[in-house]
């Protein structure tokens, strides 16, 4: 057991300072403004600048275009990226498909894709969810039918976040509708520039833009198939395991950063600092209000609890803590808390208003909290499976 500080040698400290300078330079106020306006979650200049340094895939070896960094330095990049509030929705999704591409793709396909991923010129979005299927992923209906050396793809993907900035979609399709649902699936790395593929936007409550991707008899060379035909479940499982983060952090490193918990912490900080600046007519501050102190304490406790909660469980705790915290923080600041960022008289950076809109999505995407509870019930508590097998 150890929660002590990690001794950083001069090189590591210099690296950390370099990271901070890098993100300070690239994540400007204009970048934040653009993000608030578009909700794209991506900035091309930043992404390419990271790619130039091998920081898109910092742990990949240099011969694969990465920076060949150890876990600690890669984590420092991650921490600084989060600290700078850089739009970076594709930073994680882009690195998931390469796990499957390495395992299942041909040498030519690997050569075609992976160097571009590392240098930032290739981005990959995840084509899992559809209008009629989310948590029950194996129920996808987007059809892929073989035609000689090509496949014809028809259907729709939904919540394909970052598709408008991506060159490829890591796409789960149905190739055999006549077998058990897990057994008739095939994965393609679909080049999004091909004809008969259309990307249309979906606006979300959190202000993030996501997408529909429509495939209208789009023709894909067999070259872009990953793994065997009808063996797609094995192909998506590799990166999915990583997305669900079932593993715990290792001992000599800081806990991995939890984005939802960071969002809670930011909103808490913004409101706390705003409260301190408020003087009432009777000379007291809101800090003297026991109700406000209690509410802040609840949130500070929630942040701390989330920090210590082990991996598989943390996803639930951090999302639900954020949901409660955002609402409670709005209560503390009062009606002006509901004002949008930049609106006349807006306060506390409108952080609670943003958190309130952002929060509900965190309980859904990347696997809903119910699915996560099912996994814990089955694998950790040993309870019988609740969802039917099919």
């Amino acid at each position: 057991m150890n929660f002590g500080t990690i001794e950083l040698d001069d090189d590591t400290l210099a690296f950390w300072k370099e990271c901070r300078a890098f993100f300070t330079e690239h994540v400007t106020e204009e970048v934040h403004d653009e993000e608030r306006r578009t909700g794209g979650g991506f900035n091309l200049d930043l992404h390419l600048a990271m790619g130039e340094r091998g920081w898109v895939a910092p742990r990949w070896p240099t011969e694969h275009g990465g920076a060949g960094l150890d876990a600690l330095r890669a984590q420092i990049i991650d921490l600084e990226r989060v600290r700078s509030e850089a739009p970076s929705i594709l930073a994680t999704t882009t690195l998931l498909p390469p796990i499957a591409i390495r395992k299942f793709g041909s040498p030519q396909l690997q050569q075609e894709i992976l160097p571009g991923v590392a240098d930032g010129t290739v981005r990959i979005c995840l084509g899992y969810t559809e209008p009629d299927c989310g948590s029950d992923l194996a129920a996808v209906r987007t059809r892929a039918v073989r035609d000689g050396d090509e496949w014809v793809i028809t259907g729709q993907k939904m919540f394909t976040t970052g598709a408008q900035f991506s060159q490829y979609c890591f796409c789960l399709t149905r190739t055999n509708p006549d077998v058990a649902k897990h057994k008739g699936l095939t994965v393609f790395l679909v080049p999004l520039g091909l004809p008969k593929i259309e990307i249309t936007p979906i606006e979300t409550l959190g202000g993030e833009r996501t997408n529909f991707v429509h495939f209208d008899d789009a023709r894909i060379p067999d070259h872009y198939r990953l793994g065997e035909v009808d063996d797609g479940w094995a192909v998506v499982s590799a990166p999915l395991a990583q997305e669900h983060q079932m593993k715990d952090g290792d001992a000599d490193r800081p806990a991995s950063i939890d984005h939802y918990n960071v969002a809670t912490r930011r909103a808490l900080d913004a409101v706390t600092n705003w409260l301190a600046s408020q003087q009432r007519s009777d000379g007291t501050t809101a800090q003297d209000d026991p109700g406000a102190i209690e509410a802040l304490a609840r949130i500070a406790l929630g942040v701390e609890v989330c920090d210590v909660t082990p991996g598989a469980m943390r996803r639930i705790v951090s999302a639900e803590t954020l949901v409660r915290a955002a609402s409670d923080l709005l209560d503390i600041v009062g009606p002006a808390g509901s004002l949008a960022h930049g609106a006349t008289g807006s306060i506390a950076d409108s952080a609670a208003e943003y958190a309130f809109r952002f929060a509900p999505g965190t309980t859904i995407y990347g696997g809903s909290t119910e699915v996560q509870r099912n996994l814990i019930a089955e694998h950790l508590l040993g309870l019988p499976r609740s969802t039917p097998r099919g």
Binding site: M1, N2, F3, G4, T5, I6, L8, L13, W16, K17, I76, L79, R83, G249, A251, D252, R253, P254, A255, V262, R265, R266, D269, T272, N273, A276, Q287, P290, I293, E294, L296, A297, R298, A300, L301, E304, V305, D307, V308, T309, P310, M313, I316, V317, E370, R373, N374, I376, A377, L380, L381, G382, L383, P384, R385, S386
Partner: protein, 354 residues
């Protein structure tokens, strides 16, 4: 985030070393054999099993936490928390936390009376600390008060010790050996700032070790609840198949697992970096109190009507989860005030330095 600004990174390593695992396993095995539920029930309503206490002395439950040069084994709060979680897991009717905290308090005082009292505790005596506010008649409701040979507590600004004549036990929710204790005849063993500091430390350690015990209580209740969800058949399937049963059990598990880790972290900081402790003890205590109560309630509800009967072992843990928390000063609102004030103070400091 604040430490990040200053280029500080911390480890987040919750692993136990071999000695710690051995310590935990030793207490667990011992209590599983010596303190089954029948034994807990047999010691009710007063929650006192002298034979178990004598046997626990063999594990050096109390001397363990005393410095080596004072006749103990020099264990820190993390190690003590591991032992106390097992006390909770088995609802042991033995005043381990009370005596550990009293002994550690005495060990910090250079006074012949304190030294004699400590020697007596290392020899198997029972002691406790009266940490609660006195009632209207000036007496203080004191955990282990009815069985303690020595009670220390606050009188005005002083820390005093009394050796009571067997105080009358008062029946209570947790079947704990509570008694009303009169400290007016006590002998002063510390005063002024020293006394205040000793009491603060005692309260903090009481809360930390009680948090560990609460985690044990909650975990034990949950084990019963989960087992029942696997065994009980309704509508043709084990009831754990239903998410309405399974998901609350998952939530209760998350509460207990996070409370355990928060308690360890708070204990670690109290042992190694007390100046960076912030409100971790209050947080750990509050979270463990709520998690243990929720675990007990969830387990009870999972067992349905059976869970509500005294035949079910779940009630043993559920009633103690609330009781032990209350006896340790688990007033939710006061704990939240303390946490909130610490939070605001740390935010003020951060603003002042930037």
């Amino acid at each position: 985030l604040r430490e990040l600004d200053e280029f500080v990174l911390r480890r987040s390593d919750f692993s136990l070393d071999e000695e710690q695992k051995l310590l935990r396993d030793t207490f667990r095995t011992f209590l599983r054999d010596r303190c089954p539920a029948e034994r807990v029930r047999a010691a009710e309503p007063h929650g006192w099993d002298p034979e178990l206490w004598t046997a626990l002395a063999g594990l050096r439950a109390v001397p363990m936490g005393i410095p080596i040069d004072q006749g103990g084994d020099g264990a820190g709060l993390v190690d003590l928390a591991l032992a106390c979680e097992e006390i909770g897991r088995h609802a042991a009717p033995a005043p381990v936390i009370e005596s550990i905290v009293a002994a550690r308090t005495l060990a910090r005082i250079t006074d012949p009376v304190a030294e004699t009292a400590l020697a007596n505790l290392l020899d198997g005596g029972v002691a406790t600390v009266a940490l609660n506010e006195p009632g209207p008649d000036g007496r203080t409701l004191t955990p282990a008060g009815s069985i303690a040979g020595l009670i220390i507590g606050r009188r005005d600004g002083d820390l005093v010790a009394v050796a009571p004549d067997r105080l009358a036990p008062v029946e209570n929710l947790a079947h704990a050996p509570l008694a009303w204790c009169d400290l007016s005849t006590g002998r002063t063993i510390a005063s002024g700032i020293e006394a205040a500091h000793l009491l603060d430390t005692a309260r903090r350690e009481w809360r930390l070790l009680t948090a560990a015990a609460l985690v044990g209580l909650g975990a034990a209740a949950l084990r019963h609840g989960v087992q029942y969800a696997k065994d009980r058949i309704a509508f043709g399937v084990p009831i754990g198949t239903f998410q309405a049963i399974a998901h609350p059990l998952v939530d209760a598990t998350i509460g207990i697992d996070s409370a355990r880790r928060l308690t360890w972290k708070a204990c670690w900081f109290a042992d190694h970096e007390p100046t960076n402790l912030a409100a971790l003890p209050e947080m750990a205590f509050l979270h463990a109190s709520e998690a243990a109560e929720a675990a007990g309630l969830t387990a009870l509800h999972t067992q349905g009507g059976f869970g509500f009967t005294v035949e079910s072992d779940v009630q043993l843990f559920y009633r103690r989860a609330k009781g032990w928390s209350l006896h340790g000063g688990g007033d939710r609102r006061r704990l939240l005030q303390a946490i909130g004030e610490t939070w605001l103070a740390s935010a003020d400091t951060a603003r002042a330095t930037t």
